[in-house]
């Protein structure tokens, strides 16, 4: 019993920072509809700024003052981010802003490194709170007790603000229809900035408050992201009580998990998330997302047409040129091009889902990495020849996608996206922790192609054939009845269902098909590198694809491929420089702001404006 209570208290104390960060994210999402990936970065900044302040402000007053000031400082940084980066892109298509926030992550990462250096910083102790209280004989650190007492008060204050004050009413109204709130005389720009500042300040506060329990390091931003998203989704996007309850559930469960299932630490919260969303598709306290209710639908997509003959000629010429690469290019040029081609196929497979299907998968790496792992497992454990692995791995990835899609397609919008992310994370944790089979993070090595392919040139042609082939198949399917049905299900599920189209089946099949193509890309990848590691299944890999698809242009057929080629190329150049993340982040933000329709979309728009391209169709 004593032990039980002690664990409960530890869990409640741990929930503190998680709750602060999560409710900040939830508030921001609720009002601005922005899934702020940079929220983890704000948390990290809170920790660093708090640390520096504590070094300079002595005593208990200095300590608590530093935490408060860190929150305020991060709030101000949030204002800068909102005004400089997000305000210009509020009118961009849905979810495009999240790409901008990804740019912010990169910029903050490098700036933090420049300012505070690479060393991990150990957080200072809270003055007067070193040591433990004995509760039922169990030692509980004093600071834990302080945290678990403070947090409900902060939660209550926020709850009061949101439910009982006019500001809160305005925030909730803006959550639903911000344009209307503006038309009723409320300055929504100020409201947005205010909410963003408040959300950021909470993240900063969370970062500073956890200092005595940890410290500040450069990996904090990504590490907090997954649990925070899980908490927000379980609680229900935009719900404060939900965020608190979910933070407590996750933290307490985690503490018990540590004791009774010590190996479960990575998987547990994602399992909880999947279970909660299966039972309550909009989280514990969330409300149903109604598509388009926020006046954010964006311009309708243009009709598609198969490529004209002249475009086909240009593509053929380009391909011929690529095919000649071994003649005039170096061995490295082939390796680089192989990498880019594989990534293009990966991006194109996501684009098929995202663009044509309107199905925003945040976890597409599951199929890419999944394909790679199936191939590697076949080679490692079944000694299967490359050819067989090549056949089975994409199929396996496709099947996995069907299974995951079957579950996820019960949800829509952000919840759908988050559930796909949860599944990808589940798969990742499985691969990461099931070391005896998957090699854990030491991965699977010596996965090389058969002898006939085992030269840079031969494999280059092989990758060229399959990636370009895959992309062309994806494109063709877009023009087939199935591709049309997929768009129909996206444009108007109502109409499609009432004209006999089984939209669920169409979308599920599309999910499986995209998974198959992603798996093909992964299989090509594993044999080109000879090894595979869990990072091919990570969130970051999913985001890579997501970002290039958005930056290339979701609403254009060529967007995925063009974005992938452009950014993979730029990345190869940029990573040669020290602060390349800063440059890459700024580049991403720049593209988001000047080309809100993506690169291809904006080029097309410019071409239409200049009358180079006839309006009304896309190829």
């Amino acid at each position: 019993m004593e032990f039980f209570v002690a664990q409960l208290l530890t869990g409640l104390a741990n929930a503190s920072s998680l709750f602060l960060v999560a409710c900040g994210l939830s508030l921001i999402f609720g009002v601005t509809r922005i899934v702020n990936f940079a929220h983890g970065s704000l948390y990290m900044l809170g920790a660093y700024i708090g640390y520096t302040l504590m070094q300079n402000l002595p005593g208990a007053v200095g300590f608590w003052g530093s935490i408060l000031l860190a929150g305020i400082a991060v709030g101000i940084i949030g204002v800068l981010v909102e005004v400089l980066v997000l305000r210009p892109v509020y009118r961009a298509p849905e979810l495009f802003q999240l790409v901008a926030t990804f740019g912010v992550i990169l910029v903050i990462q490098d700036l933090t490194l420049i300012i505070w250096g690479p060393e991990d910083l150990l957080g200072p102790r809270a003055p007067g709170l070193r040591g433990v209280y004995r509760i039922m004989g169990e030692p509980i650190p004093k600071y834990d007790i302080v945290l678990l007492v403070i947090t409900p008060f902060i939660a209550l204050a926020l709850w009061y603000l949101i439910t009982q004050t006019r500001v809160g009413v305005l925030v909730r109204a803006a959550t639903q229809d911000r344009e209307m709130v503006g038309a009723l005389g409320v300055n929504q720009a100020v409201l947005f900035t205010g909410v963003f500042a408040l959300g950021s300040a909470l993240a900063g506060l969370g970062g500073a408050l956890q200092l005595p329990k940890g410290g500040a390091d450069l990996l904090m931003d990504f590490h907090i992201l997954a649990p925070v998203f899980v908490v927000v989704v379980i609680g229900g996007m935009g719900s404060l009580p939900g965020a608190y309850l979910a933070a407590v559930i996750i933290s307490v469960l985690n503490v018990f998990g540590v004791t009774y299932l010590p190996q479960s630490t990575l998987v547990l919260m994602f399992v909880v998330m999947v279970v909660v969303l299966m039972i309550r598709p909009y989280g514990l306290f969330g409300r149903e997302e109604v598509a388009g209710e926020h006046g954010q639908v964006g311009e309708p997509e243009l009709p598609i047409k198969p490529a004209s003959n002249s475009v086909r000629m240009i593509v053929m010429a380009g391909l011929a040129l690529l095919a000649l690469l071994p003649v005039f290019g170096s061995s490295f040029a082939m390796v680089l091009t192989t990498d880019i081609l594989i990534f293009c196929l990966f991006a194109a497979s996501l684009h098929f889902l995202l663009g044509l299907g309107g199905l925003v998968s945040f976890g597409h790496a599951a199929y890419y990495g999944g394909g790679a792992y199936i191939a590697a497992l076949l080679v490692t454990h079944a000694n299967s020849p490359m050819e067989i692995a090549f056949l089975l791995a994409p199929l396996g990835a496709g099947l996995a996608a069907l299974a995951i899609g079957w579950v996820c397609l019960r949800l829509t919008g952000v919840y759908f996206a988050m559930l796909t992310l949860a599944f990808a994370q589940l798969l990742w944790s499985l691969v990461f922790q099931w070391g005896s089979v998957t090699g854990g993070d030491d991965g699977l090595v010596n996965i090389w192609p058969s002898d006939w392919l085992n030269s840079t040139t031969a494999y280059f042609y092989f990758a060229l054939l399959f990636s370009v082939g895959g992309i062309l198949v994806l494109r063709h399917v877009a023009h087939s009845p199935f591709g049309y049905a997929l768009r129909a299900a996206r444009d108007s599920k109502r109409q499609a269902e009432s004209t006999g189209i089984n939209t669920q089946k169409v979308q599920l099949l599309a999910f499986g098909f995209a998974g198959f193509m992603g798996g093909l890309a992964g299989t090509l990848f594993v044999f080109s590198k000879g090894s595979v590691f869990p990072n091919e299944l990570e969130i970051a890999r999913s985001f890579d694809a997501l970002i290039v698809v958005f930056l290339g242009g979701v609403k254009t057929l060529a967007g995925g491929v063009a974005g992938a080629a452009f950014f993979k190329g730029v990345e190869d150049l940029l990573t040669r420089f020290e602060y390349w993340r800063l440059v890459m982040g700024l580049l991403i933000i720049f593209v988001v702001i000047v080309a809100p329709q993506g690169i291809v979309g904006s080029i097309r728009k410019a071409a239409i404006r200049l009358n180079i391209l006839k309006q009304g169709g896309q190829t």
Partner: protein, 401 residues
């Protein structure tokens, strides 16, 4: 960065990417160094400084084979796939004669597999994974640093000398952590067959829930604790464990916990009385190690970390191999590495022909607080050669060639 330089560099590298096999004038011997300079800057920084110090000394003394030695440093962002791409670029375009580098085991394994397949020599400087030279070993991959197994064996030896029976372990839940626990168990049970493992905790790497872990360990009432956590996890574990009295009256063994990289950030909260492997640079004044520490401090106005000496010894090993090979041909270098004797900063080491592992050792000692900082006292340098499996066992572990 200046915009113009940046643009020029972009154009230049774009042009380079399309260029046929680079045919640079071979006036230097180039070594391709791949590492996670950004992702693990705190470790890669001192490591790189160690390399640069050794390079300066080597080139001041006339270089190798009559040519200056040059390292091309490339950052892989901690991504194995990226590292493999860079490896190819270094070898085929930049004219590197061999590869070295990496701290993360998975990246090291990726390069190793690639090197084995393509026939490039790769000296894995820092990655600790045992499989690098055993289960996944190949004849082109050599490793400098004493592996997880070796260091765990040193701690197990120390643990076997006490009365402790009930052991608890805590290790990050990934390959290194698992290897480290397995190796400790194996070696301890060999020396003390009645030892019992009463709890195993596996926090996720860098996501430790220290309070819960400490409670769970305390609940098992062990006599001794074997710790593999490091970095921010270690700091949280030490803090919560000290507060809750977990370490009182218990022996604690900490793998790598004595390295300045991990001990220094703890400041005055560094644990006392733990038995650890580490790098007591402050006590090194004699012999090659002392010379290295002095030279390093003179050069950088900073003290060396463990990474610094590994970087330094990497260059020493490569120089020795090149001189022995008398050529920059891959096969010659590979053959030179087999059984190579190096007079290194840690004394004489050998790259064993049987598994390509060097016999670099480690310092084992007890932690203490001095002037508000954690240090190692009563330390001893343990030669790695004594902590490696027998040849027979190695042959069983390594894939047939």
């Amino acid at each position: 960065m200046q915009r113009k330089t940046f643009l020029r560099a972009m154009i230049a590298s774009a042009a380079l990417a399309a260029m046929p096999l680079a045919t640079w004038a071979q006036d230097t011997i180039k070594i391709g160094e791949i590492n996670h300079y950004k992702r693990l800057a705190a470790f890669a920084g001192p490591y790189k400084q160690g390399i640069e110090l050794a390079l300066e000394e080597t080139n001041a003394a006339g270089g190798v084979l009559g040519k200056p030695l040059e390292f091309i440093f490339r950052d892989d962002q901690g991504e194995p796939g990226e590292a493999v791409k860079i490896a190819e670029e270094l070898m085929t375009r930049d004219g590197a004669v061999m590869l070295t580098g990496t701290i993360l085991s998975n990246v090291g394994l990726a390069i190793s597999s690639f090197a084995g397949e393509k026939g490039y020599v790769y000296l894995a400087s820092e990655p600790l994974a045992d499989s690098l030279v055993w289960g996944a070993g190949n004849k082109y991959t050599f490793r400098l640093r004493s592996s997880t197994f070796m260091q765990a064996a040193m701690l197990a030896e120390a643990a076997a000398k006490t009365d402790a029976k009930r052991f608890a372990t805590i290790a990050p839940n990934y390959a290194y952590g698992k290897d480290a626990v397995a190796a400790f168990k194996e070696n301890l049970l060999k020396l003390k067959p009645d030892a019992e493992f009463v709890a195993e905790q596996w926090p996720a790497l860098f996501k430790i829930d220290a309070g819960a872990e400490v409670q769970a360990l305390e609940r098992a009432k062990p006599d001794a604790i074997y710790n593999v956590t490091f970095g921010p996890d270690l700091a949280k574990f030490v803090r919560d464990g000290t507060d809750r009295g977990l370490f009182e009256g218990r022996d604690v063994y900490g793998l790598l916990s004595g390295e300045p990289e991990y001990l220094d950030p703890l400041g005055d909260e560094a644990p006392e009385g733990w038995t650890v492997t580490g790098f007591p640079w402050y006590d090194l004044s004699d012999g090659p190690a002392g010379e290295f520490v002095a030279a390093y401090q003179a050069r950088y106005d900073d003290y060396p970390r463990l990474g610094s000496i590994v970087g330094y010894m990497t260059v020493q090993s490569i120089v020795a191999a090149l001189e022995k090979a008398g050529s920059t041909e891959t096969e010659a270098i590979r053959e030179a590495f087999e059984g190579l004797q190096v007079a290194s900063a840690m004394g004489g080491i050998e790259f064993r022909a049987i598994d390509n592992q060097s016999t670099m050792g480690a310092y084992v000692g007890t932690t203490a607080l001095q002037d508000g900082k954690g240090v190692m006292i009563n330390w001893e340098y343990k030669d790695g050669a004594n902590y490696l499996p027998t040849d027979e066992e190695v042959l069983k572990l390594r894939p047939a060639e």
